[in-house]
Structures are given as C-alpha cells and as structure tokens.
Assembly symmetry: C2
C-alpha cells in the first residue's frame, strides 16, 4: 500500500540490513503494530532499499519511505565518492571512526522517526543500533540513545504533553552471533537482508568489506548456515 498508516504503536527504522530486520521482528514479537521507516538518503547501493522493502513486507509492517539527499552533506564513503576500506585492519590504519561514518546519521534518522511517531501516535521508536560490533560509530552507544531521548522529550509535542516517545534498542548489547541466533528464534528470514558495502552490479555481496566480514563471521560463530548470496570472487572465506 502506498498510503501511510493512520496509526502505529511503534516506528521501526529499517535499513535492509540484518540488525534492523531483527529489531523489527523483536517489536512484532512484543505485539507492536509497526511502521517500518526507511530513509532513502542517497545510498550508493539501491539494493539496500530493495532489501528494506522485502524485510518490511515479509514481517507485515507498513512501509514508509522518506527521501533525504544526504549527498548535499557528503563526508562519508557510504554516500560520497570515497573508497570503502576492504577490511577492519585497513580502516584502523586511518582513524578510530571509519570513513563509512555518515555525519550525524542516527541523530538525523532518530529525529525523522520521532516526527513520524508523533504523526502516527506511536509511543516507541525502535532502532537496531549495536554497541558491541559498533564499528566505531559514536551514535550507536547507549549514552547517545539516552541523551537523544532527553532532547526529544524537550523538543516534541509528545514530550511537551508528558507522553515522551521511548527509544527501544533490542540488540544494543548483543554480539553479532547472538543477533543471528535471536533472528533464528524469531523466525526472521535473513536471506532477505543486505549488509555489503560494496555489492556487485546484480546486488551480490562482495564477501570482503567490513560489513560482509562481520556478518560472515557472525554466522560462523552462531553455528548457523549463512544464507547470504556472495559474488563468486568473494565467496572464499
């Protein structure tokens, strides 16, 4: 359906990746009627947006897509013309915070999710941030989430009327293998998700970028089969 939902209990930020798919499933498992908010922020790879739609539809969430041209801001290998590092080691040669960091991304995404939550009367915003495999992003830590809730309480109609919107972060303390096992318990079809920073032209994962490496090792450590479709060149471990 192209029409926005009139009401939702929760707004869930759905990126098309593994973490947000599990987050959506966790919200659904608590009985929430969910709006899946996907931000089209000029991702270099549109395959992420396709994955987000598949995930939302498979879990019965209403899709809301919001266009935001973050390329006007630039400053990240995920939106601008900057080479994506091939491995965590290569990243660490340069800086503690990787070039794939999008300036203020979760600040922006949570703000938009709160705006939608206000409109839909939702009392929760769910986000799949993770402080364990957090790749050095400052906006994935619990201290940020709590500070954001406080700011939103001051700056939104819901907060001003005493009905503050909460941020739910069900996987913030989980390592990748635990997230994958959690997904299996919740029945999430992870083959629908996309993690790779550098997919081939038909959307197959490269198998060697940092996102692929973390994901691949996660399935291995969880002892579960990896449903990811890797491009031939990247298939060898």
């Amino acid at each position: 359906m192209a029409t926005p939902p009139d009401h939702a209990d929760a707004v869930v930020l759905v990126s098309g990746g593994l973490d947000s798919a599990v987050t959506l499933a966790a919200a659904r498992a608590e009985g929430r009627r969910c709006a899946a908010l996907t931000i089209d922020y000029g991702q270099r790879h549109r395959v992420e947006l396709d994955a987000a739609s598949r995930v939302a539809r498979a879990q019965g969430a209403r899709e809301v897509r919001l266009a935001l041209d973050l390329r006007a801001i630039g400053g990240s290998a995920l939106t601008a013309d900057i080479a994506v590092p091939r491995s965590r080691d290569e990243r660490h040669m340069h800086a503690a915070i990787p070039v794939t960091y999008v300036p203020a991304r979760n600040l922006v995404f949570l703000s938009l999710a709160f705006g939608l939550a206000e409109t839909l009367g939702a009392s929760e915003v769910w986000i799949g941030v993770n402080a364990v495999d957090f790749s050095g992003y400052p906006d994935c830590r619990p201290a940020f989430i709590r500070a954001f809730e406080a700011a939103a309480r001051e700056g939104t109609r819901a907060g001003a009327s005493g009905e503050a919107i909460r941020v739910r972060t069900p996987i913030i303390d989980l390592a990748k293998p635990e997230i994958i096992r959690h997904a299996a318990r919740l029945g999430v079809d992870l083959s629908l998700t996309h993690s790779c920073y550098d997919p081939d032209p038909v959307g197959l994962a490269c198998g060697s970028c940092e996102a692929c490496s973390i994901r691949r090792r996660g399935f291995e450590a969880a002892g579960l089969p990896d449903p990811t479709r890797y491009a031939p060149a990247g298939a060898a471990p």
Copy 2:
C-alpha cells in the same frame, strides 16, 4: 556557486524568514564564514525557498540546500493539506501547540545542520529559534537547545573527539520588535524575507495569518517601516 563550500566556521539554518535572516547577520557580525543551510522539506509555498536564497546571497553566505520530503511524515498545516488558522485567537481555540507545528522539525533541522557542520569542520550551528514569540512550538525553548547539544555531543564524531559543536541562538530571548531593531542595526534588508503562511499566487503576504500578524505588529512596535509586500486584500491593518 553550486559547489558546496570546503570549509565554514558556522552553519546557519536559513528559512527565508525574518528571524533566520537576522541570525545569519549576527553570525556574520561575529566574523564567521557561514554556510547557509536551507531545508527544502516540501513547504507549501516555494516562495520561502526563493527568499532563503536571496537572504544567503545578500549576506555573502554559501548556500547549501538539502531536500527532505517531510510530506511523507505529514502532520502539519505547513506541509500537509490542513487549513492554516487565520489568527492566534483561532489557533488558541484548538490547542496550545498550533497545527502549523511540524513534527520534530527543529530536532531534524539541527541534526542535519550538525551533519553539515561536521563535514565542513564548522564549530557552530546558528538557528533563529525564539522563545518569546515562539508560537507554542516546544522545539524553540532553551531547554531543548541545551538537551540537543548534549545529545549531539554523544552522537557525533566531533563530540566524540572532544570538539563539540555549539548551538548559537542569538535571538532566542528577543521579542519581535527587538529582533527587527537588531536587524536594522546589522543592516539586514528585511524586504528580502518572507514570513507569511498563506501568500497569494505571486508570493505577496496575506497580512492576516499568525506569522503576518506577529511580523506586522513587530514593525509597528519597533517604530520602523514595514517593507513587506502585502496582497491588496490583506493590506488593511
């Protein structure tokens, strides 16, 4: 110039209205090299965006325009198909926070400004919020601004590296006549600005909506000539 600036000292949110024009002038008066960030969020009236360009150019700021389709969120008379109240009294008949409130707007706009500030290496974000004539918007109060700074300090690369970006709000405590007198002192050409919520087809101000009423009374109280071009029907006080 269409190219984004490589560096700025300050990012100033410029809407095309009177308050942000004065805010930009205040930043310039302190010697800041400014990037004027205008959010194209699906305003009902494109005349606001034209005014923002005029204001930025007249003050020598580099323009950065960022497209964000807030209509996907809805919930406001400024972006959706909801009637704009004709006066403050009409608004007060309905609710303490007016229907012109855009859900989480300043939360979203400040977040985007912080992202741009990170990219440009700017240490300040200037915003023309006003807690005196604040029209009941919760995101125009000092408590929100301070809470936002704290959240951004936790959630951005700049904050994580100990170089927190500050929010500057030069007109937050000024009543409209004081803002207008301040504009005159700073040499701001207020005829370039646009405040009306309900302009006529060629962009002339209606003279009777809440924004026009506040602006018109502001010039009267300041004892300064009002350069606003009103549509004939709304010209009578």
